[in-house]
Structure formats: structure tokens, C-alpha cells
């Protein structure tokens, strides 16, 4: 009787302790693995940006080949959402509630990101480096959301400031994608021009499916603009510059970072991209920066698919994941979401292959506490 009572007590103790450890263990983390989720369009109209997720994948494989982080391997779960917000939400839920992700990284697009933002934030799941420079990530700031991509809004302000102050342009126009991405550019351009007592001479929206941009370019030409901001997809940017040449309209074009993959843009524009001034969020593809050389050799050449190109979108997947990896490293063996947030908040002038990245302790009234790169037009 005494023996069976002891066994019962031992079993109950084991159960309680087991449950307790279950509560303590962080979701998506084991002694040997850290599960990280990511979405990205591998098919559909935005599939050209699919290389972002593949870049992150190669980066994680490089880290794992070098021994992982404190003995743990990064297990990368990426899925194709085809740039469809409904698919993004379904995929994120499936992975989060099925496998259990410790954190999410990157994720292409403003609309897909907005579809899952509340879901992740309500569950206090860290999300680092959305692949879009939208104001939505930081207004209002969220404790678990860390932006890396420079704001499109700030990029537009910086380009306008440069064009007006340094190059002396008097008439600025913008052609923009008719969605949140493009409208962020319009907002930045308008605000910066207002500071110089100027206004946009033309705002021309373009829809993602448009293929004929002659009416758009006519509007730009008729406005008499001497500087035109391109806040579109690479395809539309090239067609705009090309159609302008055909119409003998030659302003100074300035472009968002989305179109800053110069080798690609030069190739698909058949050389017309020369002379375009573009913002960018990272080193250029041929940069001699030691980290760029390392990533190219140890991540791209070893782990990318044979027909993959070492382009901006590919290594953007590394740019957006660098702060997360640094945060996980700083956590040591004791990896929890709260600890990760604390370590990320401690990043100051962290230097990877983008501009310097830093965050601040969470302040719901300070959007810059969650904007890693380029808080202002001056950088």
C-alpha cells in the first residue's frame, strides 16, 4: 500500500513538473532547434520578389553549417502566398498553430503583412524585418514588430530634398503604384515639397496590371516636370523611362529602393536606367564589403539554387534577417520571446550589410523605437 502510494505521488510529481517545464519552454524552441517562419511570393504577379525568402533560407543554412546559434539550428519554414493576403493569413495560421514558430522574419509586401500583423501581435510573436517600407509597421509601434526596411515615406523625402536642394529642380512629379506602397511615396514627396513651398506638378497612379503607360507618361510630360519620382514596380519603372524616351521627354528620374537592383534594371531597360538616381537599403551587388563577400561565398554560392542570381532581392532576405539572428545570438542559451525583444531593443548601430540598425525600449508614442534603419531623410 505504501509502495503504491509512493508511485502515485511520483507520477503526479512527474506530471506536474512536466507540465511546468512545458509552460516554461518557449514555443518553437527546443534544445537543438529554433523554428522561424516566413512567407514570400514564389508564384503570381509579385513572384520576382520571391528571391527574398530564398535569400533568407540560404543565410540560415550558412549559419547552420557554421554550427548554428548556441548549439541550435535555425529551422526555416517558408511558404508561397502568391502575394495574396488571404493565403498569407491562412499559411501563417497553419504554421503557427500547427508547427509553432518562435518568430517570423521578413515577409514580402505591405498588404500580405497587414493581413497577419494583428494575428502575430495579439499572440506576442516577434516579427522582424517586414519586406516593405510601410508606415503601417510603426504607426502605432508594436512591441513585437521590428522594422528594418527604410520607410518609403522617408526615401521620398530624402530624394526630393536632394533633387530640390542639391540639383535645383523646380517641378517635381511622381508616378506611383496605386496602393499603400505608392501612396507612402506620394505622402513623403508632398511633405518635403511643402517644406520648400512647392507642390507636386503631377501625381500619376498606375495599377499593377497596367501594361500601356503612354497616357501616364503624357500626363508627366504635359506637367513640364524636370524631376520625376518612380514609386512603382521595376517593370513599370522601366516602361515609364522607356516610354518617356520614345516621347522625347527626359526629366531626371529618381526611384525608390524597390528599383535599386542596378544590374537587373540596366539589363531589362536595355541600358536606359543609366543616370537614374535611386534610394537603396543595402550594399550594392558588387560591393567589396567583407560581409557581402562572405554571404556571397558562404550562403549564395553554397546554398542557393543553380539558376539563382546574386541580386538585391536575394540578399535583401539576409538584410531583413540579420537583426533577428543578432538578437538570438545575444540571448544566449536562454531563448525566450521576451528576452529576444529585450536584446533587439538593445541594438545600437548594429552593422550588417544595410545601413546601421538600432531600436529603443518600447514607447507606444515613439514610432522610431521600432524603426531600425533611416529614421529621418538624413539617415
Amino acid at each position: 500500500m505504501r509502495s503504491s502510494g509512493f508511485k502515485l505521488a511520483a507520477a503526479v510529481s512527474a506530471l506536474v513538473l512536466g507540465l511546468a517545464f512545458g509552460v516554461w519552454a518557449e514555443e518553437g524552441v527546443t534544445d537543438t532547434e529554433i523554428h522561424i517562419g516566413q512567407w514570400g511570393p514564389q508564384t503570381g504577379p509579385a513572384a520576382a520578389w520571391g528571391s527574398v525568402a530564398r535569400g533568407t533560407d540560404a543565410y540560415f543554412k550558412m549559419i547552420n553549417a557554421e554550427g548554428g546559434i548556441h548549439g541550435r539550428k535555425l529551422i526555416h519554414h517558408m511558404f508561397d502566398d502568391a502575394y495574396n493576403p488571404a493565403k498569407t493569413l491562412a499559411g501563417v495560421k497553419e504554421l503557427q498553430e500547427g508547427t509553432g514558430m518562435f518568430a517570423w522574419v521578413s515577409g514580402v509586401g505591405t498588404a500580405p503583412g497587414l493581413a497577419v500583423k494583428d494575428y502575430l501581435m495579439e499572440r506576442k510573436i516577434p516579427w522582424v524585418g517586414p519586406s516593405a517600407g510601410s508606415l503601417h509597421w510603426i504607426t502605432p509601434p508594436e512591441k513585437y514588430l521590428f522594422a528594418v526596411y527604410p520607410l518609403y515615406y522617408i526615401e521620398a523625402k530624402a530624394l526630393v530634398r536632394y533633387g530640390v536642394e542639391k540639383m535645383g529642380f523646380k517641378k517635381v512629379a511622381i508616378i506611383y503604384q496605386n496602393d499603400d506602397y505608392g501612396k507612402n511615396g506620394v505622402k513623403g514627396a508632398k511633405e518635403e515639397l511643402a517644406e520648400h513651398n512647392m507642390k507636386l506638378v503631377a501625381e500619376v497612379p498606375v495599377n499593377l496590371t497596367d501594361s500601356d503607360l503612354k497616357p501616364h507618361v503624357m500626363k508627366l510630360k504635359n506637367s513640364g516636370a524636370d524631376m520625376v519620382l518612380l514609386w512603382t514596380s521595376p517593370k513599370h519603372a522601366v516602361i515609364t523611362v522607356g516610354t518617356s524616351k520614345a516621347m522625347q521627354f527626359s526629366p531626371q528620374f529618381m526611384s525608390t529602393s524597390t528599383c535599386s537592383d542596378f544590374p537587373l534594371m540596366m539589363h531589362i531597360s536595355k541600358g536606359l536606367w543609366e543616370g537614374v538616381i535611386a534610394a537603396t537599403f543595402a550594399e550594392l551587388p558588387d560591393s567589396p564589403h567583407p560581409l557581402m563577400q562572405k554571404y556571397k561565398k558562404d550562403a549564395f554560392e553554397k546554398f542557393a539554387a543553380k539558376d539563382e542570381r546574386w541580386g538585391l532581392f536575394f540578399y535583401a532576405g539576409i538584410v531583413f534577417a540579420e537583426p533577428l539572428v543578432e538578437g538570438i545570438k545575444r540571448c544566449g542559451k536562454d531563448l525566450t520571446r521576451e528576452r529576444l525583444v529585450k536584446e533587439l531593443e538593445g541594438l545600437k548601430d548594429f552593422q550588417g550589410i544595410s545601413g546601421k540598425i538600432g531600436y529603443k525600449p518600447f514607447d507606444p508614442n515613439d514610432p522610431s523605437c521600432r524603426q531600425g534603419q533611416n529614421h529621418s531623410p538624413d539617415g
Binding site: 514564389q42 508564384t43 503570381g44 504577379p45 513572384a47 520576382a48 520571391g50 528571391s51 496605386n178 500619376v204 497612379p205 495599377n207 496590371t209 497596367d210 501594361s211 500601356d212 503612354k214 497616357p215 501616364h216 503624357m218 500626363k219 504635359n222 521595376p234 517593370k235 522601366v238 516602361i239 522607356g242 516610354t243 524616351k245 520614345a246 516621347m247 522625347q248 537587373l264 539589363h267 531589362i268 531597360s269 536595355k270 536606359l272 539558376d307 542570381r309 541580386g311
Partner: protein
Amino acid sequence: MLNFLQMVVNGIAAGSIYALMGLAMVIIYKTSEVPNFAQGEMALVCSYLAYMFLDQYGLPVYAVFPAVLVFAFLLGCLLEFAVLRRAKEPNVLGMIIITIGLEMILMGIVSWKFGAEQKTMPFPVSPYDSLVIGKLYISSLEAMMLCVTLVIMGILFVFLRFSKLGVAMKATQQNATAARLMGIRVRRILMGTWGISSVVGCTAGLLISTTLMQPYMMWDPLLKGFAAAVLGGMTSLPGAVVGAYLLGIIENLFGGYVSIEFKSTVAFAVIVLILCIKPSGLFARHYVKKV
């Protein structure tokens, strides 16, 4: 006034691609009454094949383009023979769904083989050089497209009016049973129709590819070509061409004077309007079938 004229010229320039896609759809519709939604992706496969030979193997344009047009003919014949003809108890709805399925398969193959990154086809005529007539501009490539479209329309007109095969096609369209009784091999005619349609669509694809290529590039021209065909009449070849140029001009004038934001929706408004007012289109004769 100059702006208005430039918009009309721009509309005509844009209309050429719509016309080629519209013609391709009408050719198949005339014989089988099936709008072929795989038309764009058939052209896509051929265009990427041409790109592969031009860019990766460095073969000359004058050799690659004719070879690809032959391939396009064979592809059209193959799809009709291997897929469409196998449909059990075919009806129009079922056939349309088959063409949509084919569209997805072909696009999947292109995305898998060539990736999603933008490309551009090497071609001697630049899409960004222009011809200046007075104070009006048209790009050299679009001027060429206009000529190609008119030549293809002329060839099709002569072919259908005067060649034995063309007359057999018209007979098949008007009454397949009677055509069969007169000794016409209706199935072969259908297969040939798919082949010819594929060649016309492929021409559009090749010309579009000289500007920019990506797996989704044919979707917009296909929809616009379909709208043009509905506007002109799904059974009228000249109707599809006139409809395409009208659509191009309407789109450009709408973008210039009304709203550039909703320019791309004009084509679909046109489809709805025409289907409500004159379902047979502006130029097609209205056939009433006796059942």
C-alpha cells in the same frame, strides 16, 4: 488638339497587341465557339522558348522567330489533339474550364523553368526609339506592330476567303455536321484552327517580349484582346481588329480626359456594355441557330 491626336495615336499603338490577341481568340471561337483562355500562355511558352534560344544560345532572330512560329503551330495542334479532343461529352462550359486549366499548367511550366524575374528579349527594333510624324510620336516597335497586325489580318482574310482550307474552316464553323457530310475532316480542321490561332497569339507574345518578359505578361493583353473581340464581334476577324483599335483609343482618351486611375477598367466596362446592348458585337452577323 495635339494632345488629342497624340492620344489617338497612342491608342492605335496600344491596339495592335489587343488586335493580335483578339484575332487569335476569334479564330478558335469561329470554329468551336470556345473562348480559349489558354491563348496568352500558349504565346508565353513560345516567347520564352524564343528567349532561351536568343539569349542563352545566341542564335539569330531571323532563325529563331520563324522556328518558334512553327513550334507555336505544332503546340496549338497538339493541345487540341491531346487535350481538347479527349473531352468526354464536350460542352462549351467544360471546354472553357479545360482552357483555363491549360492556362495554369502552361504558366506553371514557364515559372518553373525560367523563374519569375523580369527579362527582356534581344531584338533589333528598340521599343524605346520613336518615329516622329509632325509633332506626333509613335515608338518604332509599335509602328512595326501596327504593320504586322495589318499584314496578318490581310493574310487571314485572303486565306479564309480564297484557300480551300480556309473555306473548309468557314464551313465547319457554320455547320459542322453538313461540313462532315461534304467530306471535310472536321477534326483536322479544328486542329489546324488551333495551330493558326497559336501562331497569331505567338506573334503578339514575341512582340511584347521585346519590351519586358515575366510569366504574367500575357494576362493583360489576353483580357484586352478578349474585350476587343467581344466589342467587334466574336465571329468577325475584321471586327476583332477594329474593336481592338477602338478599345486602345477609348482607353487612352479615358485615361487622358476622365481618370487615369480607372483606365484599365474601361475594357471590362466595354464588355459589359456590349453584352447588354449588342451581344453579337459591333461587326458580327447575328446567327440564329435552329434547334
